[in-house]
């Protein structure tokens, strides 16, 4: 089976170029350098149709940047994203619409000046997927799909709660019949009980509309609940990719292990936290070699020297750790 989405050597740098004064000073002998952040550093993976792939990581890991590159909002500096159109179920849709994104902030992800009916139907009308006369019926259909009351069509975003706004955002994305959805921390800003509603909604929609998800989150509990496969990122690189069972029971990379050990769990009884030491390094000056080596219990000199390659250590299980080479 070929993947629906293939990401090859995808990279994205953010460069703060020198201004005129700095350039002038450089000519006079100073040594100002451009600041480059490798937000995403040579990332490759595939997603198969119908899968939910969870991407987890902390601040600075690049997961949001990765999501935006896959959704087409941000152009990559290197590498490319390939979408297998032959697996698409609807051939009339323009390619640009096949991947859609659900955003994090329910308050800024909807245009405050537009009514819900316009928010949802703007893109389908613009791309001539529906006729203007069908606008109302189409919008009602979309609202029902995401569990909203169709009477709220004419309302503005500020008249809805956070969870309802997320549903409107989902309806907006579904309106163009996408195949692939990138969910970037889509539930992070919601209350726990509302999160549960939206997670259930995502799962239902996936089954009803044959969708494939890239689910980006920092919340390990959600990732564990919803994903078929998990990608763990640290400072722009993938450190581990595994099927969900393996991720939970046999994490290989020391960072994954530390992450799973440090997550608060809803279990009876108090626990003593044994956290890993150290701060997350600044993306402006990441450690050499393996980015994780300053915080890693098992670090060796080799870890400081060279970047570990992402290697398959078991079927479907990839890890980027030098310690695996010894095995």
């Amino acid at each position: 089976m070929t993947p629906l989405l293939t990401v090859s050597n995808l990279s994205r740098d953010f460069t703060k170029s020198l201004d005129m004064v700095a350039k002038l000073l450089n000519r006079l002998g100073q040594n100002y350098r451009e600041e480059v952040v490798h937000a995403v550093d040579d990332v490759s993976f595939s997603v198969f149709k119908g899968e939910i792939v969870g991407v987890v990581g902390e601040s600075g890991c690049g997961k949001s940047t990765l999501g935006r590159m896959i959704a087409g909002i941000l152009p990559p500096t290197n590498g490319h994203v390939f979408f297998d159109v032959t697996q698409a179920k609807n051939t009339d849709i323009p390619d640009a619409l096949r991947t859609q994104m659900i955003f994090q902030d329910p308050f800024s992800s909807l245009n405050p000046r537009k009514r819900v009916i316009d928010i949802i139907t703007e893109a389908p009308i613009h791309h001539k997927l529906i006729a203007p006369s069908e606008k109302r019926a189409f919008a009602i259909e979309m609202l029902k799909r995401v569990g909203l009351d169709p009477d709220t069509l004419e309302r503005y975003p500020h008249q809805f709660s956070g969870g309802q706004r997320q549903r409107v955002g989902i309806a907006r994305a579904l309106a163009v019949s996408p195949e692939f959805l990138v969910c970037d921390e889509s539930i992070a800003a919601l209350d726990v009980s509302i999160q549960a509603q939206i997670i259930n909604l995502f799962v239902d929609l996936k089954d009803s509309f044959d969708l494939t998800y890239l689910f980006i989150s920092h919340d390990i509990g959600v990732i564990e609940h919803i994903s078929d496969r998990v990608i763990v990122m640290y400072l722009g690189r993938i450190v581990e990719t595994a099927p969900i069972e393996t991720f939970v029971k046999q994490p290989n990379h020391p960072y994954t292990q530390a992450l799973l050990a440090g997550v608060p769990r809803l279990e009876v009884g108090k626990r003593q936290y044994e956290p890993i030491s150290g701060e997350i390094p600044s993306p402006l000056s990441p450690p050499t070699g393996c980015h994780f080596h300053p915080r890693c219990k098992f670090a060796t000199p080799r870890c400081k020297a060279g970047k570990p390659a992402l290697r398959e250590i078991a079927p479907g299980h990839f890890s980027a750790c030098h310690l695996n080479d010894e095995a």
Partner: protein, 302 residues
Amino acid sequence: MAGKAATTTGAIPASGWQKFWSDFCESPTAVGALFVFLVILFIAVFAPFVSPTNPYDLASVDIMNSRLKPGSEDFEGNVYWLGTDGAGRDMLSAIFYGLRVSLGVGAFSGVVALVIGAAVGLSAAYFGGRFETLTMRIVDIQLSFPSILMALIILAVFGKGVEKTIIALVLVQWAYYARAARASALVEKNKEYVEAAQCLALGDRRIILHHIMPNCLAPLIVVGTLQTAHAISLEATLSFLGLGLPITEPSLGLLIGNGFEFMYSGDYWISIFPGIALLITIVSINLVGDQLRDIFNPRLQR
């Protein structure tokens, strides 16, 4: 299906306009100023109908009536509430017609400057890069000159006249609008609904006009209000100096200027009353603009 069909949270906020009006009414000063401004606007628009006389109809003006004190009568029994000027024209009527010209020129140039400035500012913010750097440098350079100086230079180059004055006012003002539009657009550009529109492949033009611009209107309206007052006062200054509008289109500034020579002989009303009219106009617009700015300021908790 997930989730019960949801309705809005308990208290539905009042519609946009109602809330806006109730916020505006929180300041009695602003409401008063708005009322005064609307009266002035009414006078300006309907000047030919509300004026006691038409001061520019040469047939009705009699040099024998010149320099009459406020409140005096002429031989035919007409009362000149604000006196007459050197040529015998009724000051009250002259002020009404003057308001018309001042407001008209100020508002028109403001609107044109807003369109140009907003277009430049929005595009600069959205497209960024060299275009933004170039245009914003021009804006910065222009804004570093005092506006009166810029206007004088432009009029010196182009000459006097109504169109030329309007062009000068537009060229002076567009930069303020551009800066306000760019600042506002930069904030909106980074919001997720703009990213969503890009994800939905709606095209740059549509995104700028339908998504970003409507959300930038608030600061532009505030700048517009305050700038209109500025434009009116700028035009008055130019006309006072004799450089702006010609005598055939007398604005308040021109009236003040023409009446100035009479101040020395004690006939204050020929210059002062147009001055007071100008003052009231500008202050009322500024007060309304101030309240608008406070309403639209997201940091002030309401």
